[in-house]
Amino acid sequence: MEHAVAVSPWVSLAYLVAGVCFILALRGLSSPVTSQRGNRLGMIGMAIAVVTTLVTHVPLGGLSGAHAPAIAFGGDFIDLVTFGQILIAIAIGAAIGLVTARRIAMTAMPQLVAAFHSLVGLAAVLVAAAAFLNPLAFGIAQVIRPIYGPDLVTILPVSRIEMALGVAIGAITFSGSVIAFLKLNGNMSGKPIMLPGRHVINLGLIAGILGLIAYFVTDQSPWVFWTITVLSFVIGFLLIIPIGGADMPVVVSMLNSYSGWAAAAMGFTLHNTAMIVTGALVGSSGAILSYIMCRAMNRSFISVIAGGFGGDSSGGAAAAATDRPWKRGSAEDAAFLMQQAEQVIIVPGYGMAVAQAQHALREMGDKLKEHGVRVKYAIHPVAGRMPGHMNVLLAEANVPYDEVFELEDINSEFAQTDVAFVIGANDVTNPAAKTDKSSPIYGMPVLDVEKAKTVLFIKRSMGGVGYAGVDNELFYRDNTMMLLADAKKMVEEIVKSLD
């Protein structure tokens, strides 16, 4: 048997077309207008990749014709069984996937994405393991026939590195995403869990994995492969547990990136263009999103990875703060102020998602528009638990996307705005980020809500602090009115008062 399966140019071309479809799918996301067409192109690309693989690799007797691969020596009966098994596997996956996609609440999107990442990681581990156990099927091994004894199957050295990297990245993606899922889903505390000496343990493990990958080139014994796999599962777990809830947008983006690199590594193993292109796209996508999130928090990627942020911080003025005077308002006050306004900017945050207040909020916006008020929404990049989370929730509540603005596009408008309405956001509105050098969030770009004539700030109680564990200067300003209640109830009451 030859060491590489001969590939027809048509097959390579089909995978290339699939890769191009994936590029266009992402390109479509540059505007909501073209996005749905982009998504359909993505589906077409995936269909092309799957059908091409099935046609070239499932031996179907006479049907596969010119593409019949070297392994097509089973009879028709066995081939149909294989084909049936694959279809059943796809059908099971499709049923689970479609039902989940239909039922999931938009507020739960971060944990769904984390769960999906874990599946990509797990699939990568399984494929790498399958390739390790049966390298001839993947065309990555040579058979050496010694004069005495059984045939020796040796995996090509380059393929060994690619395979080992694939399994390592896949395993890290899997266990890391499982932890991210548990934290986002509330099964595990969002507080960072700090092990003593964790940096030493982590660096040691990473060095061990890299060393074993290098050793794998010279020795393809199963223990090397499985040790790499196990150590990678452990490091993925250890890397994510010290990272707190506030940094989850970065973690989710980072794991997105890893799932891409895992696919790329397997693409190298299989010499498959579609996988390599996709892996590179997804890898860059996740990396860029991580960068955007870090920049929006003014934190370095390294400090996020090192973890520990967003726990019970003893930060700054948090403790003694509640003694300071602040103003409390009622729903009627808020309704009155906003009715009189020319422009109201609504600043939503994760608290809005938790309270499921987006529909009530849109109703409030509609009522205000009836009163001739201009309503806009201002979104901070890290509002919510994943990039773009707030935009999806507002879209779900039928808020038109051209009323929703990003930080840099709307920040200059607060000065000419009558009312800034903060709902479920906290740290991203804290003026201390601009003035107080001792604040843990100093330097983070924030929304200039305090420049509005009046700030209405919905909060459950005066006791709690934001994720960063710092008190918000904004609460004690003369132009701030605190609306202390559950976000959804408060908005519903304001809607009633607006009638």
Binding site: Y15, G19, A25, L26, R27, L29, S35, Q36, G38, N39, G42, G45, M46, V50, T53, H57, V58, I71, F73, Q85, I86, A89, I90, A91, G93, I96, G97, L98, V113, F116, H117, A123, L126, V127, A130, F132, N134, L136, A137, F138, V252, G260, A263, M266, G267, L270, A274, V277, A280, L281, S284, S285, G286, I288, I379, P387, G388, H389, N391, V392
Partner: protein, 97 residues
Amino acid sequence: MDFISILSIFVLACFVGYYVVWSVTPALHTPLMAVTNAISSVIIVGALIAAAATGLGNGGAVSKWLGLLAVVFASINIFGGFAVTARMLAMYKKKVR
């Protein structure tokens, strides 16, 4: 294909990815993550190869079942990822004037 050609494709695709992703509007970053999730499940190609391999003895049988399991996981992602992206994108509407 030799290693260098594959590496060239990879490096160029990284650049394509860089420019394409920066042009994605921040409002669509969540759908971006969902759809990248779906397309990274192109790893199903490897799973299918493993699942379709026949009669290669030794680790062959285990490899086949691992492949089938990977097909299930990747399919969950493909169908779930594209469906949830489509559901999200359908919600983005312009102002009715």
